[in-house]
């Protein structure tokens, strides 16, 4: 009896020591890793505040002697970053909001309602996720060119307002998990399906809808390919195009390029910070179900 007790005690002690070692190793690993992740961003921040010409000082100074806030003033006013912000916001507001609403409506129907050809329609929609977007890139361009949409924001705004497969899919997975009794009660109360959706389902599914909204915002905000294809006039450039054009215009002025990059990061960083919980949970959910 006492023998087994000491044996278990030794085993537990060994286990504890093992845990200690593994935790220390984990910390070392994570600290190195996160340093590697963070260094480029810190360098970006530091350079954005440096005086022109001192970007490449060796050894590099992490904290500049004087902070050149004028770099930010310059990129916001002279270098059109402000303009790019505005254009991006104008372009993504409608697709983000309307598209999100359309996605949720469709997702609700696919999750909860019965209708002929439901599965066929859903599979058809999912097929767009399998076929690489590259295949439709050229004919879509031709289509928009023929109806005179090239060099306007319409190709960036209109298609997104219809909603899209990934959003429908993610939200459908979520709606499937909501208890059915709530809907039945709504039905008894005489609500029509649209009212049920607006008053019962939508409020219940806030986290999923927020997550999908954020994903949509990030995708729209960071989209480079579509603006690159459709927009030619500099005054219509979205933020990403403005940033990309930086490297041509300010070839050797890295302080400006980095200030612009910092400014581009701020909105998504703030969003992530305030919505981290929903955001991470949403991704986690799709990860498991996908």
């Amino acid at each position: 009896m006492s023998n087994t007790a000491t044996a278990t005690g030794a085993w537990q002690q060994k286990k504890k020591a093992g845990e200690y070692v593994s935790k220390t190793l984990a910390y070392l690993f994570l600290l190195t890793g996160s340093l590697v992740m963070a260094i480029p961003f810190l360098w970006m921040l530091s350079t954005s505040l440096k005086e022109q010409g001192l970007e490449f000082e060796m050894p590099p100074k992490w904290i500049p002697e004087s902070f050149e806030w004028s770099n930010y003033v310059f990129v916001l006013t002279e270098a059109n970053v402000w303009h790019g912000y505005l254009n991006t916001m104008l372009v993504i507001t409608l697709p983000c909001l309307v598209g999100l609403f359309m996605n949720s409506l469709a997702a609700y129907a696919f999750a909860r309602m019965n209708f002929p050809a439901k599965n066929a329609l859903f599979v058809m929609l999912l097929a767009t996720m399998m076929i690489p977007g590259i295949v439709t890139m050229i004919p879509t361009f031709i289509l928009f060119k023929n109806i005179g949409w090239v060099d306007s924001w319409l190709p960036l705004i209109i298609p997104g307002m219809f909603g899209a497969a990934p959003g429908v899919f993610l939200l459908r997975q979520f709606f499937m998990t909501i208890p059915k009794e709530l809907e039945d009660a709504a039905k008894v109360d005489g609500l029509n399906p649209f009212q049920t959706f607006i008053r019962i389902m939508l409020p219940l599914s806030k986290p999923a809808v927020i997550t999908q909204g954020l994903l949509g915002f990030l995708a729209g905000y960071n989209d480079f390919l579509n603006p690159l294809i459709y927009i030619n006039s500099p005054e219509k450039f979205t933020l990403q195009l403005v940033l990309a054009s930086f490297q041509g215009e300010y070839t050797s002025q890295w302080t400006y390029i980095m200030a612009g990059s910092v400014l581009a990061l701020i909105p998504t960083l703030l969003l992530f910070f305030f919505a981290q919980k929903h955001f991470v949970e949403g991704i986690t959910m799709t990860g498991i179900k996908g």
Partner: protein
């Protein structure tokens, strides 16, 4: 009564379905046709049979860009292994997990353009950060992006760094779903840490591994904005990916027909690889 509900349902799903028909189905059908024509985008397309596909077969540049794309895809297994390592470390009861998670996630929420401009500079041979750090350990770094040999490895490093966060989050979620009881009973049976990791953890998270593998393969085969910004496909086409080549053909040389043929070759390739992945996965993915 039933019919009324059907109407509601069709109304609800109509927007994405109409969107699908207009912006996916019609362009998709048209692109098959365009791939069999000569088409500049200005004059109407002229049917030329399988000429585009025949040209592709003999286009050295096309094969080179194909090779480049697969070379770049080497980053996928590397990135997955690193992400799994980080997720494993984060899966313990660790202080500051939120901070670590945010740091690793930072590149995921950043603009691709800002990141690539940043890395373009890091890789600069004379005043970049990387070669400066390498000097500390006595290594004379190469001219990363302007060297035919090192440009692609540099792009792989940047790609791994940029996708680490999202893969880490997915793995972390999967790891938290691995039943503790399995580990405990194996431990009592005398299995050591490594045996437990490879015999229990790895099989348990294999569905997530498949998910990451498939989505990152599709993404890698279509990757190109960062190549355009960092190397413009050079030097000497060493970092021109298939999609970049397609893009150049379509929008720079205005040969839409030829570019459509490239698009369909790539589309088929992605389809075949995805199906192959699914088929092979039956051997190594364990569903409960």
């Amino acid at each position: 009564m039933k019919r009324k509900e059907y109407l509601w349902a069709y109304l609800f799903v109509s927007a994405p379905i109409v969107g699908f028909l207009l912006f996916a189905f019609i362009p998709l059908s048209y692109s098959v046709y365009v791939s069999f024509t000569e088409y500049s985008g200005y004059q109407p397309p002229v049917f030329n049979g399988t000429d585009n596909y025949a040209k592709l077969m003999n286009d050295e540049l096309f094969w080179k860009t194909m090779y480049n794309t697969f070379y770049a895809a080497l980053g996928i297994p590397i990135g997955m292994a690193v992400a799994l390592g980080i997720a494993t470390a984060l899966n313990q009861k660790i202080r500051g997990i939120g901070l670590f998670r945010t740091l690793f996630f930072l590149p995921t929420i950043s603009s691709v353009i800002a990141l690539t401009l940043l890395w373009k500079w890091i890789f600069n041979d004379s005043y970049g950060l990387l070669n400066y750090l390498l000097e500390f350990v006595g290594i004379q770094g190469p001219a990363w992006l302007s060297s035919e040999r090192w440009a692609m490895p540099a792009m792989i490093i940047q790609g791994v760094w940029a996708t680490l966060g999202i893969n880490m989050i997915l793995y972390l979620a999967a790891l938290q779903g691995v039943p503790k009881s399995l580990h405990e009973s194996a431990e009592i049976d005398g299995a050591n840490r490594f045996q437990r990791f490879f015999r229990i953890t790895v099989p348990c998270i294999s569905p997530t591994t498949l998910y990451i593998l498939i989505t990152s393969t599709i993404a890698a085969l279509q990757d190109f904005p960062r190549f355009q910004i960092m190397t413009e496909g050079g030097p000497n086409y060493s970092t021109t990916t298939i999609v970049y080549y397609l893009f150049q053909n379509a929008f720079r040389y205005m040969s839409m027909g030829y570019a459509s043929a490239i698009a369909w070759m790539l589309g088929l390739l992605i389809l075949v690889i995805t199906l192959l992945n699914f088929w092979l996965s039956r051997r190594w993915v364990h569903y409960e």
